[in-house]
Amino acid sequence: MSRLPFYLIVALLLVTGIAMSVHRHVQFEVPWTPGEQRQVWEIEAQVDFRADGGPARVEMALPSTQPGFRVLTEHTASPGYGLNYLEENGARRALWSVREAEGNQQLYYSAQVLVAPNAEAGDVPPPRPVPNVVWEPPYDTAAQEVIDHAWSRSADPFTFAQQLISDFSDERRGENVRLLLTQFDRSPLLLRLFHQAGVQARAVSGLTLENGRRRQALNIWLEVYDGNESALFDPATGQRGRPDNLLLWENAGQSVLEVQGGTNSRISFSMISRNQPAAAAVRSQVAKDADTLLNFSIHSLPLEEQALFQTILLIPIGALVVVLLRVLVGIKTSGTFMPVLIALAFIQTSLVTGLVGFLLVVAVGLVIRNYLSYLNLLLVARVTAVIITVIAIISLFSVLSFRMGLNAGLQITFFPMIILSWTIERMSILWEEEGPKEVLIQGGGSMLTAVLAYLAMNNPWIRHITFNFLGVQLILMALILMLGNYTGYRLLELRRFKPVTED
């Protein structure tokens, strides 16, 4: 039996993989290492609405360059719609229009935003003072008292804002505030109170940037002016100042989305962060117009899918770790690729939290499973019972840790529950048949594999390489094929067979 075709395939995979990677490196200037780079966020807004059948008009606020962020490029996808960009008073808006539209409509807008600490804001004039704020009784007196209370304890608009918002906090909420909150929502109410007090302020909408998030919504922030100076306040906490990861999507106090000729309109955001040299970020955008097959890249997908792929492309790395440990070392695990799934969960939860959570769930699960074995159940029913038990354990731990102020405990929900249940079932049978020692060996082997897989998958350089160079997948494939052909001894066999060589 000739092995030639095998080596040809391996060679072909290696050459193609390396060639694709080098091509991407040279042509698109994607660097080999994640270092010395600028962070670029790709943000995608998706507008959904239901058109009535007649003409439709959709107006959406657009982000502009602002302190902390520079907008590099923007794209829209809206087949059949006419598109205009409007700009007034430093606020940018997109206007989509169509003569006839019916049914569910989807409009996309995506922007590349460079993290630039030195970026300057465009000119947005301060809001004009609102002369008359009309309240109906008894809200007028309540509002006045709330304002007076905060006013007396403040020196300028900023301290006034802080005092006012802190009066809205749960523990300090007075009778007047509670009365007002029955009639108004928190943010609009705060804004009215500012206006009433003669403080220049407006509500702006910001997006909290977190890598790989999908279906996110905007948050309302209050921008308070003192003359030409302004400061952002979080209406929930009264915290002053802009967090580093807050991108102001709408900064002129206008609406974010206005739809005419449609109902049920909704806007949601997906985002992903990528490291690129700032120059290349712009250039790759130019090259994008000349999209060829050679530029076969995950980056041509919608952002929502890109975020998914960032994780999916890491799975082969985890699998490679498993193959290495099993073929070259000879470690026993419970369930071949279970450790990879556990490692994926570790990426979400961080290592220590993940390990503690995993051990807790499996240990408690084993105890309960031990009782279930007395009930004489059919296998599928028993495993299902274990699944429900695992969910119960996870809920219990989440609530308990939240009560104790350990937010990390909430992340336990990232564990793949069905996999956990099968692990518990298998460990339990192993315990009955082979004793606790074998459970420790296989459980320990699985944990070790999961931790190593996690360390590999969480390595910034590996994340960078797998996401930016698809050719790496082919190289991994070739590596795994070669490992599948390895007939040498496993590391642990050198210990196992030692007695034979002694005499």
Partner: protein, 326 residues
């Protein structure tokens, strides 16, 4: 603690990867696996080839059928229940005798009929089968094992594993259950493995937990005098399993019954490597020799060839003599 790959190679030791690729992958056609992975099929096939196996009491294939076990077992004092597709000795329940309404395991533990029914129910739902697929429970007569082995075994039936390569018996070992192995004959659980000389059927060397052993840990009986009766018949039986299954690299598990002599217990298409430890020798050289032999030789000739080429002298006797001289 560790040895070097070079030393292992010099001893001809085969590793797991090599076994999987070089032997199992090359000589065992995947298509034929069901013949040996399903013990019921093996049994029926063996009957067609006149290979003795333990008598079949019955099979249970539906949860509904479990209710009839009671009648099925009425006439039998001792019996063995095993999953047809089990692996590694998992899910095998041995009942030695009855005590009133109770069933007694070799360890002396008493089980109720309900316990037995639960065990069968677990088998049917695939708890012990490869990949968890639904399974069939096979109920067999208890093997009435040869009295001469009573001294060598604790609770369980000692069985003899013969590796058959392309029809040639290449290496053999006897597995003696111990208290540590809970009456099971699996070496990694603490059973004693005794290498058996292919030529004579006598013990060469014993190991427990991968360390040399000269006597049975529980009965204290020395292993040097272990001799398997009807050795040639046993080898021929094992060798003819090649014609029966067409699997090139095969592990055959045999037992010696007091009345029926050597019997085939089950076959294994992925036999383990511990046999090398029990024999103190690697498989590689023997397998290389067999690979150079022509096809189409009868089982009797193959056994004769193996007995001629694989003869070895006992290390146990040498140890015993040295002890006597000292």
């Amino acid at each position: 603690m560790w040895t070097s790959p070079g030393k292992l190679r010099a001893k001809g030791i085969i590793g797991m990867n090599q076994r999987n690729i070089r032997y199992i992958g090359r000589y065992n056609d995947r298509r034929l696996y069901p013949l040996v992975d399903d013990k019921l099929q093996t049994k029926l096939l063996a009957q067609r080839y006149d290979i003795t196996t333990p008598a079949l009491i019955g099979t249970v294939s539906t949860q509904f059928g479990i209710k009839r076990i009671h009648e099925m077992l009425a006439a039998h004092g001792g019996f063995v229940i095993k999953p047809a597709k089990g692996s590694g000795g998992k899910g095998i329940l041995v009942i030695e005798q009855r005590d009133g309404a109770h069933f007694v395991k070799p360890s002396g533990a008493h089980l109720t009929l309900e316990d037995v029914e639960r065990h069968v129910s677990n088998i049917l739902s695939g708890l012990y089968s490869l990949g968890g697929s639904p399974d069939v429970a096979v109920i067999e007569a208890l093997i009435d094992f040869d009295e001469s082995f009573a001294e060598y075994s604790y609770e369980g039936v000692p069985d003899i594993r013969v590796i058959v390569f392309q029809g040639y018996p290449v290496m053999a070992m006897m597995r003696l259950s111990t208290a540590a192995s809970d009456g099971k004959a699996n070496l990694h659980q603490g059973a004693v493995g005794v290498g058996i000389d292919i030529a004579s059927g006598t013990a060469i060397r014993g190991v427990q937990f991968d360390r040399a052993r000269h006597d049975h840990p529980d009965t204290g009986h020395e292993l040097a005098s272990l001799r398997i009766p009807g050795w040639k018949t046993l080898l021929e039986l094992a060798a003819s399993c090649y014609e029966m299954t067409a699997l090139g690299y095969l592990g055959t598990d045999m037992v010696i019954d007091r009345q029926h002599g050597p019997m085939l217990l089950e076959l294994n298409a992925r036999p383990g490597l511990a046999i090398q430890m029990a024999n103190g020798e690697g498989l590689r050289k023997r397998l290389d020799l067999i690979e150079r032999q022509p096809e189409g030789v009868s089982p009797e000739e193959r056994v004769a060839f193996a007995q001629h080429h694989f003869a070895r002298s006992s290390e146990l006797e040498r140890v015993a003599q040295e002890a006597a001289e000292a």
